[in-house]
Amino acid sequence: MNTEAIVDIARAEQGTSLWQDAWLRLRKNHLAVLGLAILVVFIVIALLTPWIAPYSYQQQNLELGASGPSAAHWLGTDIFGRDLMTQIMYGGRVSLAVGFIATAVALLIGVTWGAVAGYVGGRTDAVMMRMVDILYALPFMIFIVLLTVVFGRSMLLLFLAIGAVEWLTMARIMRGQVQSLRQMEFVEAAVSLGLSPATLIFRHLVPNALGPIIVYTTLTIPNVMLLEAFLSFLGLGIQPPQTSWGLLISYGAETMEEYPWLLIFPGVALTLALFSLNFLGDGLRDALDVRGAKD
């Protein structure tokens, strides 16, 4: 048998039942399942928006102006007479995209950083984690404001800026996980079999640390979405003609007395999405019993 297979078997002894257990536990958590369901619905809508949106995104109806919910416009219209439901659907695409992509960026950087630090240990670890500590101490909101003001507002920059803030905790978690895993038998087996560190880290350690990573990722996405909405509210995030839930809320807040639906509906959408993600994340955390692994 090749070395890979040996290591796989060794790992399998510890691993397989974990996922099945977790899934069963998750299913019993009604709130988490609800969260998952809502999330799936949102994602599907977001993906299918260009085809299922009732109106065109740009279509204005100046004569109509802002109007409340009606048969033609289920959620009402904005001051240009544009259908609000369409706006929310397109905004959802952007908000969810920022959430997932920026989190993916954070994930990539954080996992790699933490895994390397945790595995190599010693001096390198100390230096790498010290850098994380230093970055942790920086007032990031201030820098993000500054970055967006300095470099203009592009989607790319937004992803990078937000991702740059969130990767730190990911790195810490990953490092902790890797450190505890490092002691385990299958790792010793792999080392003695001569596996390269890179293979070891990415093929074996990372998948084992997947539990906390998944949980934390699910909980990071709503933070990222909040961050984007926050920036858009200040005028630093998504720029028109694109829209996002944060931007819709900021417009709605201005005219909330005259046209409250412009605030309420996007607000409900955002809150619901964050709700689902958080419940799901909590559920996953309980199901995978991650909190127990506090070492």
């Binding site: 740009q58 100046l62 001051i79 240009f80 028109p240 201005e254 005219t255």
Partner: protein, 548 residues
């Protein structure tokens, strides 16, 4: 455990109750009683130094604290005696002699003299100070040369103190609007000993404008200045015309957010708001006895076109863009009918002047022009970017126009917003294709608008350069024999300008304010200018029945 919870809940309830009970008397009620006007003033003032300030919030405060040689009558906008009790203008209009009121005093009791003005104007024009309004005095002989460092002896500049109370000003040529300029704060006199106590004349950031240091000459005196909270002035007892001042004080509230400002007005925290949120206007217009005041304002909202870059370097493209816009619809639907569509740069009825109108909303013709320019039905259109400074209202206009161009001409226009500083930079560097712009006249005269577009003018920003235009505006108009002739020359110049369409005029501004019924003496006027001497509060004003 339970008792602890109960106690906590009681505490919370008590706090909530306490909070709602202590509302206190509103500013309007207490202000009416004490003669204090509560004035919503927009942004926090940057500086109270008349030679350094540049904005409209500063304008109001400085006008309360200081006074110029002339003041404006808020009803007619005619110049009235200020620090100068009278003036004589020579036959050829080039020499104006101001007679300073012997009763005019600084707030510390010092008498005002003509020398104050000579020194102050030297300060305004000194290149070291970097005053952004130095150009206000350019009609004065050699003032521009001095400001540009080409001349270093201020004695050569056309302003002299003939004696203590006589100020003689020599102009380059007849300037009908010069007296109006004397009411602009940049031409005000400042107190030399106070300024020199804290630094050089050309130092911009000395503390001479602090409450404890400031010496001014107006109807009011600075009493308190809490950053971002309030600025209070009180009636001055050294002011020469103090018997006509009816207010005892003014509190200027910084109200950057127009939505919050309107709420403050509604609950009686303000007598006057600097602006009104667009969404609220229809509501106020419906009211009987509405506090909403709307009046034409000497300013134009327009889009700059970069005439040096494709595709807008083609005249027909520019004309097509301009003619495809339905300004009436824009005004009616997006702007709630509160402004006046404009087809030219100068606002109508500026001192009796009416600008030429060379085109109308004509989609068919616009499409023809676009086709002639090489983009029939939008084919081959390279795209166009519209830049505007971040603001909800600008966005509304931009989005509406983007759609109009799409519908009428089938072309795509992308929108970019930049915040203020970046946007200004883009404009100055001509780093744009089409950019939003607004220009408010500094004085009531077509020249205030037409001299924007002279070749190389700092505020031209379009690349428009026509020597015939320059000649009309700079040489012929000032030398016109009569006012009618002068206006006719302006008309010719503006026709030349609009034939080239380097800008897309959209609408003429209107001033919009909410004014409490207990206030009188603040009539709307073309310059949206207030003379606080005329303002009074009705002590006995009571709301009719339940609260508004």
């Amino acid at each position: 455990m339970h008792s602890m919870i109960v106690r906590l809940l009681l505490l919370v309830a008590a706090v909530a109750l306490l909070a709602s009970c202590g509302r206190g008397e509103s500013n309007v009620a207490s202000g009416n009683r004490a003669g204090i006007l509560h004035f919503g003033n927009g942004s926090e003032p940057q500086s109270l130094d008349p030679h350094v300030a540049t904005g409209i919030p500063e304008h109001f405060i400085i006008h309360a604290l200081f006074e110029g040689l002339t003041v404006k009558n808020p009803y007619t906008l005619e110049p009235e005696p200020g620090v100068a009790s009278s003036w004589d203008i020579s036959e050829d209009g080039r020499v104006i002699t101001f007679h300073i009121n012997p009763e005019a005093r600084w707030s510390n009791g010092d008498p005002m003299t003509a020398a104050d003005y000579v020194w102050s104007w030297q300060r305004l024009l000194s290149p070291g100070l970097g005053s952004e309004y130095a150009y206000m005095l350019f009609p004065v002989k050699n003032a521009q040369a001095f400001n540009q460092g080409k001349m270093t002896d201020f004695g050569e500049v056309g302003v002299k103190a003939l004696d203590k109370l006589t100020l003689q000003v020599t102009l380059n040529e007849r300037t009908p609007y010069f007296l109006q300029l004397m009411d602009h704060y940049s031409t005000f006199a400042v107190h030399r000993p106070t300024i020199e106590k804290f630094g050089n004349a050309s130092d911009r950031y000395t503390p001479w404008t602090r409450v404890e240091n400031m010496v001014s000459n107006g109807a009011f005196r600075l009493r308190d200045w809490q950053l971002y909270r309030r600025l209070e002035v009180e009636k001055s007892d050294t002011y020469w015309d103090r018997d006509r001042v009816k207010l005892n004080g003014i509190v200027f509230h910084p109200t950057e957010n127009t939505v919050s400002e309107e709420r403050m007005f509604r609950v009686g925290q303000l007598h006057y708001t600097a602006s009104v949120p667009l969404g609220k206007i229809p509501v106020y217009q419906e009211m009987a006895d509405t506090p909403y005041r709307q009046a034409p304002y000497i300013g134009t909202y327009y889009y700059l076109i970069n005439t040096l870059q494709a595709p807008t370097d083609k005249l027909k493209v520019r004309q097509a863009l301009s003619m495809a816009i339905d300004r009436e619809s824009l005004n009616r639907n997006v702007l709630k009918g509160t402004n006046i569509p404009a087809y030219s740069i100068t606002p109508p009825d500026t001192l009796g002047y009416f600008p030429p109108r060379l085109f109308s909303h004509d989609v068919a013709r616009a499409r023809e022009l676009l086709a002639e320019a090489g983009y029939p039905n939008g084919e081959g259109w390279p795209g166009l970017e519209l830049t505007y400074n971040t603001s909800e209202d600008h966005r509304k206009v931009a989005v509406a126009l983007q759609q109009m161009w799409k519908d009428a001409l089938n072309i795509d226009v992308t929108l970019t917003n930049q915040e203020w500083k970046v946007y200004l930079d883009s404009i100055t560097q001509m780093n744009f294709q089409i950019a939003r712009r607004g220009w408010i006249g500094d004085y009531v005269d077509p020249n205030s608008f037409l001299d924007l577009f002279i070749t190389g003018g700092g505020n031209n920003n379009t690349g428009f350069a026509d020597p015939r235009y320059d000649d009309l505006v700079l040489r012929q108009a000032p030398q016109a024999a009569t006012d009618e002739a002068r206006l006719a020359i302006f008309h010719e110049a503006e026709t030349l300008l609009m034939e080239q369409m380097p800008i897309i005029p959209l609408y003429t501004y209107t001033s919009k304010h909410l004014v409490h019924p207990s206030v009188s003496g603040m009539p709307p006027n073309l310059m949206d200018s207030t003379n606080f001497k005329y303002v009074s509060l009705d002590q006995d004003w009571r709301p009719a029945g339940a609260g508004n």
